[in-house]
């Protein structure tokens, strides 16, 4: 039972991540590698504010969201002019920057959270408190799962409503033919800023949930591997609609768990998992480039 609750919490978190990433990759057609960066920014902001400064869950998450929104400009400003491979490279740079900041902003002599040791570097931040909501501390996973599911459902609702709105329609038009959309008077730069900011905010919430749930955070949550895992979800599940990323999150959460039942030696299992991810991606690209439930294929 606990195991299933644990899986459900992970699923909740990654549904938020995949749905938000789909806004950028599937709706705007912009392949970003920086998504894990914003996920980590959300996680670290919550961790530091809650642990060091004792903020409550809601204000800390709100601050994390605001920070992510502002920093999302590092991705959306390059998107004004860059497209395709060059945009991917720009986001790779953002991702590397976030990772190295988190990794290097440390000083063994200074206390955690001080200016010279903001992130504690590779050692990460242990002991992140579980949230307390309306006076109830969610220390029990059976309570936390309610919060996680509620937040995931709310995010799904927001994404659903936005993508079905005229705003989402402009995103798709922009993805299909940006020049034609501009010719109709659509300020595509503004739409890119909005879409990337919204996606970054949502994934920051997911990162905060993760930090609160696991209680420990290190820079690997901002690693390139993490970004690629997120991308795999939306690519395998499918781009450009609502159900695709949810299917993708489900598959990529379930897959390693299924492998676990094969009873392989640990060293082999970890590598096999990566190999299977890779194989899955290659097979998808070849046989079903729009993903399992998707509508749009990356070009």
């Amino acid at each position: 039972m606990n195991y299933l609750i644990h899986l459900l919490i992970y699923f909740d978190i990654y549904v938020i991540v995949a749905l938000s990433l789909n806004l950028v990759v599937g709706y705007c057609g912009l392949l970003t590698l920086a998504h894990a960066g914003f996920y980590a920014i959300g996680g670290y902001s919550y961790a530091l504010l809650a642990l060091v400064w004792g903020w409550g869950f809601l204000p800390a998450v709100l601050a994390a969201v605001l920070l992510a929104a502002v920093l999302s400009l590092t991705v959306s400003l390059p998107a004004w002019r860059l497209k395709g491979d060059f945009f991917v490279l720009a986001t790779l740079a953002v991702q590397a920057l976030v990772f190295s900041l988190l990794y290097n902003w440390s000083n063994a002599d200074a206390p955690l959270g001080s200016w010279s040791n903001l992130t504690n570097g590779p050692f990460g931040i242990p002991g992140i408190p579980r949230p307390e909501i309306l006076g109830v501390a969610l220390t029990d996973s059976r309570h936390f799962v309610l919060l996680a599911t509620a937040v995931a459902a709310l995010s799904a609702f927001v994404v659903r409503r936005l993508t079905a709105s005229p705003w989402g329609r402009v995103l798709v038009a922009m993805r299909e033919d940006e020049l034609a959309a501009r010719g109709l008077g659509k300020n595509t730069r503004l739409f890119k800023v909005q879409a990337i900011a919204i996606a970054s905010c949502l994934t920051a919430v997911a990162g905060a949930l993760y930090a609160a749930y696991v209680g420990y955070l290190d820079p690997s949550s901002a690693s390139l591997d993490e970004s690629i895992l997120m991308l795999s979800m939306v690519i395998v599940g499918g781009l450009g609609n609502f159900r695709g990323p949810i299917i993708g999150a489900l598959i990529l959460i379930a897959l390693p768990e299924l492998l676990r039942f094969l009873d392989l030696p640990d060293a082999l299992a970890a590598n096999l998992r990566l190999a299977i991810y890779g194989l899955l991606l290659v097979l998808m690209m070849h046989f079903r480039p729009q993903g399992i439930g998707g509508e749009y294929r990356l070009r």
């Binding site: 409503r161 705003w167 798709v172 038009a173 034609a180 959309a181 501009r182 010719g183 109709l184």
Partner: protein
């Protein structure tokens, strides 16, 4: 064509757009040289000029797609006019509300269409039109999220408007089909409708009739007439030579772009034909012929028409002078069936039975295959070139079956192709493109372009290079197959093209064109 008699009586109103001293040069080559122009409400302008004279460049500048080197543009369509002066000082770019870009110029009531329709393929037809509406509250994510009823109200309104527009285009029951599933003529009309729903006061049209059959041309003309009469939209049209006569009833003003400046002439009434080059006058040839037909067929040649299934027609121009073996087939197509996905495109008869498509090209002939849009012209071309798999049938080149050969083997055997969308190597220079095609005695018109990269050429210039490269791609050419060879050409380029086709060493030639019937 009886459209547009009203134009003569329409008084031309106030100035909507004025440009002064526009200058534009590309790498030292001066294209626009202090150009002035004035566009008045209710005018329908035909912008003419030779290939490479700068028509597209001017269109790009006036619609905000390209910043000119110098000059000024004033947009007066709205009550508060807006002016841009060039070169713009850098600090203006810091103001996010003062840019010279397509989206800002669009707000001044200026819209454009491109040669390709550029519909949004993932959207339904209704959404393609609805998305164009300006000032939609639902396009603000905050309102979309928290005030969905406001957005929904506007959305219903727009849906009705879009449906009414689609009904006008006789697409009433197709609102929900996706934009990539309708014919070329229909997409072109939807693209125009989209621009108008977005509130265009001035609409620039880049070759709105290109690639259309007679039916499609009629439909687009009808829509344009409706825009002028019913919606008070002012039009500026760029159209290639052979389609210009179609616009006669509509056009009120000619702009001739020459040496970087515009010479303006107002047409006094309909039927003022002084601008029409005489050798290309379509009224001299039978109505079933494309306008350039007279250039290909001489007096001494026999012309034979043959009706093909599903509204297509094959016209043979037999040239006794070109060959001694007039009845020897060079290319034979027997019982060909080509499908795209599950749909059979080539090989159906009029009742929809799968009988296979037959066609033979004879030595010395220039054959013209006229087919309506959607007939499968391009599919046939690709199947012959070996770029599209065939389901059944036989293709023989000089009695050798080539059906199982890959594309490059076919080219080696002497099949030369000129595709309609200028399949060349975009990043290479013109001379490199021609060298790749194995061509070393290019015409002067093409040689003048050597050293330029292909992608920097104008539409007509690209076409010249593609034609020159295509017609000289084989060592020992046997057949030439050309898709819409005269598209985008001005008068002299058309004459050059005709000469190149007639003097090609290939004994057989097939031209594929949209029906003029």
């Amino acid at each position: 064509m009886k459209i547009g008699a009203f134009c003569d009586t329409l008084p031309h109103g106030r100035v909507l757009l004025r440009a002064e001293g526009l200058k534009q040069a590309f790498g030292g080559q001066i294209i626009l040289d202090g150009l002035d122009l004035e566009l008045r409400e209710g005018e329908v302008v035909l912008l003419r000029g030779e290939n490479g004279s700068g028509k597209t460049t001017l269109l790009n500048i006036l619609t905000g797609n390209l910043e000119p080197d110098a000059g000024a543009i004033h947009y007066h369509a709205h009550s508060t006019p807006r002016s841009y002066r060039f070169p713009r000082p850098w600090w203006r770019e810091l103001n996010p509300f003062d840019h010279f870009t397509p989206e800002f110029v669009a707000r001044e009531g200026v819209r454009r269409t491109w040669q390709e329709p550029r519909l949004f393929g993932a959207h339904t037809l209704r959404d393609n039109i609805a998305v164009a509406a300006p000032g939609h509250p639902g396009e603000n994510p905050v309102l979309a999220l928290f005030a969905p009823s406001r957005s929904a109200r506007r959305e219903t309104e727009l849906g009705h408007k879009a449906d009414a527009m689609l009904a006008r285009l006789s697409l009433a029951r197709r609102q929900d089909s996706s934009a990539d599933k309708i014919s070329l003529g229909q997409t072109k009309r939807v693209a125009i409708a989209r621009a108008v729903v977005a509130g265009a006061r001035i609409l620039f049209l880049d070759e709105p009739l290109a690639g259309l059959d007679r039916q499609g041309i009629g439909d687009v003309l009808e829509l344009l007439a409706f825009l002028v009469r019913g919606q008070g939209v002012t039009l500026v049209i760029v159209e290639h030579l052979f389609n210009q006569p179609h616009l006669h009833g509509l056009v009120t003003t000619d702009w001739l772009l020459k040496d970087g400046a515009i010479r303006r002439t107002d047409r006094k009434g309909r039927g003022d034909d002084s601008t029409r080059p005489h050798s290309l006058d379509p009224s001299r040839v039978s109505i079933r012929r494309p306008a350039w037909f007279g250039l290909l067929a001489g007096e001494d040649m026999e012309v034979v028409d043959e009706l093909l299934p599903r509204g297509a027609m094959l016209t043979r121009i037999r040239r006794p002078a070109a060959s001694k073996h007039l009845s020897k087939p060079v290319l034979e197509i027997r019982e060909l069936v080509v499908s795209r996905g599950p749909r059979v495109v080539i090989g159906l008869d009029d009742r929809g039975d799968r009988v296979g498509f037959n066609l033979a090209l004879y030595e010395g002939d220039i054959s013209v295959l006229q087919a309506p849009n959607g007939w499968g012209k391009t599919t046939l071309l690709f199947a012959l070139a070996g770029l599209q798999a065939i389901s059944q049938g036989l293709v023989q080149l000089r009695c050798h079956p080539i059906t199982s050969l890959p594309a490059w083997e076919r080219a080696k055997l002497g099949m030369q192709f000129v595709m309609s969308d200028n399949h060349s190597f975009k990043g290479l220079r013109v001379d490199e493109n021609i060298a790749l095609a194995g061509y070393n005695n290019a015409s002067p018109g093409v040689r003048a372009l050597a050293g330029r990269t292909f992608s920097s050429l104008s539409g007509g210039e690209q076409r010249k290079v593609t034609l020159a490269a295509g017609l000289n791609s084989a060592v020992r050419p046997v057949v030439n197959i050309l898709d819409e060879p005269f598209n985008a050409f001005d008068h002299s380029a058309s004459l050059d093209a005709v000469k190149a086709i007639k003097s090609s060493r290939a004994p057989g030639t097939l031209l594929l064109v949209p029906s003029a019937v």
